[in-house]
């Protein structure tokens, strides 16, 4: 369905050929300062036509707030957000009336709904993500303002050109500076480059690869890595709604995604337990933390206060102008050369989408956990709780092995 979230909930609507796209955000905390500019920033990072790396389809994607705020303050009521579809060219894709595009959603939408929209793939359209980004921007504003949460995504690979931390394959898993990199990387840094990869050397190669693909009427895939900093501990709901399960759900719901890994991910499966485990250590802030962070910020599906980081795989876009041998809806072999305006590579524009979905997941998990925590905190002290139940036996701590 087109709804996401339990307490902080968004519902989106719109495909590329209607009057508008948008969403309703329900459950936003009241009294949050919110104006359109707060949302527009991320929408503009997502919009097409930002550079020659993306589709020439030109949409301003200007958002208006329809409800839920007054005098720049949220009321706690649903926030309606609307972005007009300006650059509509119905039936730009006429050949796709005959051919379901290979690896696109034309045929599956027809199978599901028994009816075919002009755009073929219905909501399997990049414009569907506008509602996600708009809603995510609101979640992010709250998270930043109240908890100092920082969410930064970047392009970590395009085709087989990848940042070094992806390749590294030994006991350490990661290059030495990796943890510090996660601590400091910023959106400003990311946006200096149209590819949105923070490693200049790698980024140049990526740009070249994208241009090659574009010149060949072809497309390339890639991956986006995202780090979330300053997340409160205790977020994520056992057992089916572990934080990583919700993140995986969120990320795999973004068009063109094929994979998700958190922390050490697939690489981590090659380590031994004693290498992979993150030892506990008293941190400078007086709190327990972990020395390494192969876990990626959660254990047992619950945040431990360390950076959350994960990587999302994006396949090469399905729509290419190159001629493809395929079959018509009727099963007749033929050759399709899709016209229209397409992205040769989606990962640069996917960056704010990944960030937004991450914000939606964290915000919802936060509100759910705030509820539990508040509810438990109001209980009167209970002298009958055995000391082992409150985590560690303080007065026995000297007897421990050292």
């Amino acid at each position: 369905m087109s709804t996401f979230g339990t307490l902080f909930r968004v519902m989106t609507y719109g495909e590329s050929h209607g009057k508008s796209v948008g969403c309703i955000v329900d459950g936003c905390p009241p009294r949050l300062p919110l104006i359109e500019a707060d949302i527009q920033t991320q929408l503009s990072r997502r919009r097409p036509g930002q550079s020659n790396l993306t589709t020439p389809r030109d949409e301003k994607d200007l958002v208006t707030i329809q409800s839920g705020t007054e005098f720049g303050i949220t009321l706690g009521t649903p926030i309606g957000l609307l972005v007009p579809n300006q650059d509509q060219r119905p039936h730009d894709y006429s050949e796709t009336d005959l051919y379901p595009r290979p690896s696109h959603a034309d045929w599956t939408y027809l199978q599901k709904y028994g009816v075919k929209a002009s755009s073929g793939g219905g909501r399997a359209s990049a414009r569907e993500t506008i509602g996600r980004v708009a809603a995510g921007a609101i979640a992010e504003k709250y998270l930043k303002l109240v908890h100092g949460v920082e969410i930064v995504a970047f392009v970590s690979s395009v085709s087989n050109i990848a940042m070094p931390f992806i390749h590294e394959q030994d006991e350490r898993l990661y290059p030495e500076n990796f943890w510090e990199f996660l601590n400091t990387i910023s959106r400003e840094e990311i946006d200096k480059d149209a590819v949105r990869c923070p490693d200049k050397i790698v980024s140049d190669k990526m740009r070249e690869r994208i241009h090659e693909a574009k010149a060949a009427n072809d497309s390339v895939g890639g991956s986006v890595t995202c780090v979330i900093r300053n997340v409160p501990t205790g977020l994520g709901e056992p057992c089916f709604d572990k934080l990583e399960a919700k993140l995986a759900h969120a990320m795999l719901s973004i068009p063109a995604t094929k994979g998700f890994e958190i922390g050490s991910g697939f690489k981590g499966t090659t380590l031994l337990g004693h290498q992979h485990n993150d030892p506990w250590v008293l941190k400078d802030n007086g709190r327990l933390g972990t020395k390494t962070n192969n876990s990626g910020g959660t254990q047992g599906g619950i945040t431990n206060g360390e950076n959350i980081y994960f990587r999302v795989a994006f396949k090469p876009p399905a729509t290419i102008s190159q001629e493809q041998k395929t079959a018509t809806y009727n099963g007749v072999d033929g050759i399709l050369a899709a016209r229209g305006r397409h992205d040769p590579c989606v990962v640069p524009r996917a960056v704010p989408i990944v960030e937004s979905m991450a914000a939606l997941v964290i915000m919802d998990a936060l509100m759910i956990q705030q509820s539990r925590k508040t509810a438990a905190s109001l209980l009167p002290p209970n002298p009958n709780v055995p000391p082992t139940m409150s985590g560690g036996i303080l007065n026995l701590s000297k007897t421990q092995k050292q």
Copy 2:
């Protein structure tokens, strides 16, 4: 939360130290033949103590049906399932009263709930998965009986020992026999081997690696690959509940998982669009299908009738008997050597868990789609629907490029 699914819904309960573990399955279609043996088979494949590769904890894990059936037939009402906890040894883990186990959920559960169960990690226990497997067995029985759906998972890697299709890295992505392998691999084949890897040569190495880890009081990770065959087209709900999003959610909710990839996954990001796209072709059964299946059975989040296959990353188990330098709950450095009975490698036992979660996802998606499809099918014919909306223009098909 501990609920999964919309129309076919399961809620689980239980940790390792209570009277029992179990679940309630709501929304199961009525008139399905169902007896305990249907469920026991998968529970027994999951239970500990099957071989010397797993934890010596010995649990029979015998399930009883509490409600929802009569005379071996489901009534359509909730099915209560209960498995007693037999082999309880409370506080077998006394040192973990002082130390949160590294990379385990002891500390995060304490952060979340402010209270520590005897078992430390609360529901972050392998026993929590019993409810999943029991519920999945019911879903699977329906899917098999009505749609011939076959779900087969197997161990595809242990540490860096992997089946060949994982390593392959060229335009083809996969070895030649890969598609055929997905078509034919069976549970019988898988279960011939305690590791549950169908490649005998690879499996022998895996077993050796697991024994090495066990001998060293260490643990190893791995990955499980799963194929789902004969899935009806049209399953999966745009835009947030794409089938792969639900599968990713389901898989990342299994303890110890760190990653999910569907179809070409992370490897697929290195291909060009023209290499990755799956061309359409008329199949022998008279239906449209795809020549290759890099998509992994879905497009736009909706099943296309091809095999669904995906891979799940499992980290090395966190609980190891080896001494680990870490800190106590109070932040004092020390050395923990966890006692107790642990799996050196979870992937062999994870196989039925992955299958069960897959079954729950497919079953729920199927029931949702059946609803839409039935609702649409009852609409009267509408002469005003333009021909382009019904998918392809039949009478123009001769004019197409060939």
Copy 3:
């Protein structure tokens, strides 16, 4: 929250002082013919300014479809619906900046959200119901087209002026023609009169009573009765989502409602079992039905194919221009005379709102049941099902007592 429904789901937004109000309808079956006029009809029956019985606030309430249809056909994707707020006069209610209106939501919204909208009661505004009516009109269109479902609500009481069937209090409970009345009453009949009460004699008294209240700057309450005909059997989900539970939920979510009763309702509690029970009888259509219908169309929370009828209590509107002794937000006693434009009686305009909420409930229950029914119908025949399980023992029927 502002979401209603599981498979046919609506989310609404908007208060009286924003740019627009509206909703998103998700899960509508594809291929349903749908244009704005289908929705506008019910919106126009709801809009203010229809007669001198309602608020003079004049809103055209013209709806536009933003997404989800093409060529007048639904695509199966979310349908965005938007109605501009035209007649905005911000801060028409200045005295309510000091005084929370008695029995209105000004104070409770402030308690809930800690922030006060211009309109005081936030979404406790009649305009909030526009999204409900718009969504309900779509549900209704499907139900009518496919199942011939007819939903007709009417004003059954204003103050203590009530249609005869409400007063009747003997073994029969209802006047003789009551069942036939439920079978035949139509919207056309209802709309002949501005009060929307189909009993001309009663209606005249009602109109007079409303005018009296209006003249005294006062308000009056009333009740709306609704009948739903031709509902398929089997709708409603045990045990928490019984059809009447969902209807009660839906009706009590309409502003100003204080009660709900289905079938014999509160009156029925005074009967004996043998009087209240609806005996089974073979109907002319060859199906089993009930002779009387004190149950109101459901048994055990599941529809039995008889007419569903229920009654909803609406209190007198809280906002009156009469002076009221009350206290300010700060607890200082004073006198409030609310200005602005208000309905002296909401029940005439509540008629389409009740119908719409009923349509949303039935539509969602229908889609859920279609899913179960389809799922069960695909199971192969099972010779082991004992004959008692399929309802009645055919070959023993001659031996029964007669």
Copy 4:
């Protein structure tokens, strides 16, 4: 479905002929003291065989906690609760194999599921309510302990014998002592009498009426009124999940219910606005409150801190031993005399069920609101919020009309 609640969620299972009935409670705040006796008290008030007013079916209904607690403390994890079905007599109801009982759920369950349980009506069984009562007892324990919430239900009418406050019909609506009665009535008071009506004179008549019905193999209906005291303000979610909407949903999901009214209910529809409105007044505790409480504790669907009170209509039980003219499943006219053990009147035993469902609604609404409130409270102060938005203009309060 068999799930109720969002953050405090219960799922129930079980019909009268299975091994056990029970439920899982998910989302209970951790650290709540909880032992079986806390739950047993309400279960014992619900169980059959308490007096000669109820069914002679004798069930001890002893509950065991399967999971989710240790050392008498909740862990925050799902609480499994199980009550064995002891007094099973399968097929005690053989004649109902031929006849669907009039006004019972036998036929509708068959229509819904296409299969008939031994008990006929499947989960439309009094035993289904055990899970509700068990779960409600946990919610209630928390509400009482932390917020001093008191939930007291009682029998307010049996047949046409009603407590005086129900009949009163003038401007005042209620007898003079009504508000005080709601403030003070207690369970101890209620339980002094087997009918559970606190008015001795009325209660004696009720008992007599029930015995008359029992002697005639007939049944009688009645109503249960419930008051909830000390509910925090701000509970209930606009617009579809108003507190009264959730209460109505909860109450109409109880077997045999036909109506719900909150506050003035149906009687209140006969008043004028100026009579019905509850004026604001500064209360002794220094908080704003209302002088009267026709609203019943909510305005705009949100609690205002006043007592919540509502009434629920229960029809006469459908199963009677009297001979009834009806038809078989096959449509053949005949006479049914149901054997078995039945309640002549359900309202005395319905009292704890109503209380439990009320507790579930309040607890869930509380946890949701705690989340919003906590989230908003963490926002930094905002100097740009206009004074009108924070409820009342303090420095203008002297200028108000007095």
